[in-house]
Subunit: 152 residues, 4 copies
């Protein structure tokens, strides 16, 4: 389970149109995500922001469960764990800011990028050596897939 | 009170349309700003540049006092302190460049990002360890709100 | 032979339009590429992604062999080595991620940027001290042209 | 006299439209340039690339002598030194790449950003501690204006 802003992006918002803002994402994260989908991992994206463009790109990578403009991430994940039969004791969540804290506490492996906020770093069980948007998602997916001999 | 360019942005101007230029802002700053507004802090934005797009985004975060294309920041802040009954002895201003210096001298806590210009760093009472646009605004707001037990 | 994403770009994808995504390229790489073309080096670009905009720019630099949306980079390079009479024992390939590995093993001088993925770094014979999109292509072209007294 | 790409920008080209490419410029450079114009310094911009958008922004800062798509920078500067009665023995040129070298040799104070190419660094008399697009132009202008008591 991944947050978008600050995890799949470098926290940047490109402010150049009044309607909706651009984001900066990473090709190496994208490679890992599409491979994980191919190997049948459940990938879930939960973002508090609208993030239409990022969601559109993540969809192209083959990800089916993308939720944006989510007000309560915890409630959504609890609901998804039921409907999708996901075992949270076998799940990883990577977030970077305050609204991620209570969701991170639901899963066995709460992770965060190196530049997450202080309170998130405190409760993470794995802090990636890589910043948000620079490959931190790639880092955790590559590690998990290699452990399971799924990294081709 | 916050400046935009170099404080809420990384001093970057995206030059790709003749009419008006894009800026790069930060999601973590945004989280802190909307929380401060919710906790009833007076947040004021004063920018010397036009900055239509940045202003639009800051408005969406709930900030009501956004002033762009300001020629004399000092006069404006003095005026606002009257009309909004703001006590400058209880105020923080974060700026990064020469036009901010005389406004910074009006408030009790003049702050700046790590990459402010030399003359601003000299007169700041707090230099954030974080660069402009990379979370320096988040840094000072998080510190103030935590001191006041307003950081959720 | 150069990959685009992560080599001629900094792995960044600018996600701000639903149709196709922007990339960030480097002027110093561009200078070296156009000079190499002028000196009659065979420059080949092979990208797994669609990369219409990057391809368009590379074309303006004078590069004739640009292949995007390539599914099997190895097959394409073997085919090109025949049709263009390129000696792979006298060739350099710079890539940064998993799909580049089997192509890199075809050439005498497999190279990569400093921020290539771990498995690519392992098999590279030259790891540039420069990251993707920050001048790593310039670095290898400048080195080769200087050795051959072609760097004006 | 300043080059654009790699000096007034961070060498970045934003490749997201087929027609012409965006650049990333710096607000602190802009502040210094408009101040130098106000204090009656001759500011000249010479770029080998088309750079329509950057030129447009520099014009808004009050700069009158902006030359883009220049094939021979040396010939142009020699011509300008006549028509504008500029003394090259009293001039500064900041460039970052090979086409700047022969122009740099015309002036008394050839400068470059920290991340200029090796051959430019070799012939520069002042290497700014700051990279292109990150305030290197600000650095040299601030130094010159402070020496002349023109930095307000």
């Amino acid at each position: 389970v991944f947050d978008i802003d600050g995890v799949l992006t470098d926290s940047t918002i490109i402010v150049d149109s009044i309607n909706e803002y651009g984001r900066i994402m990473n090709v190496k994260d994208g490679y890992a995500l599409q491979l994980a989908v191919k190997k049948n991992y459940n990938i879930i994206i939960i973002s508090g922001a609208k993030n239409t463009f990022a969601a559109e790109r993540l969809k192209k990578l083959g990800i089916k469960h993308i939720y944006t403009a989510v007000h309560n991430k915890k409630d959504l994940l609890l609901e998804l764990s039921n409907t999708l039969s996901i075992n949270l004791n076998d799940s990883l969540y990577m977030g970077d800011d305050m609204p991620d804290i209570e969701v991170m506490q639901l899963v066995t492996l709460p992770c965060c990028p190196l530049d997450a906020c202080v309170d998130v770093i405190k409760i993470a069980k794995y802090v990636s050596p890589i910043n948000g948007g620079k490959g931190c998602v790639r880092d955790v997916i590559e590690k998990v897939l290699k452990l399971n001999h799924h990294w081709e």
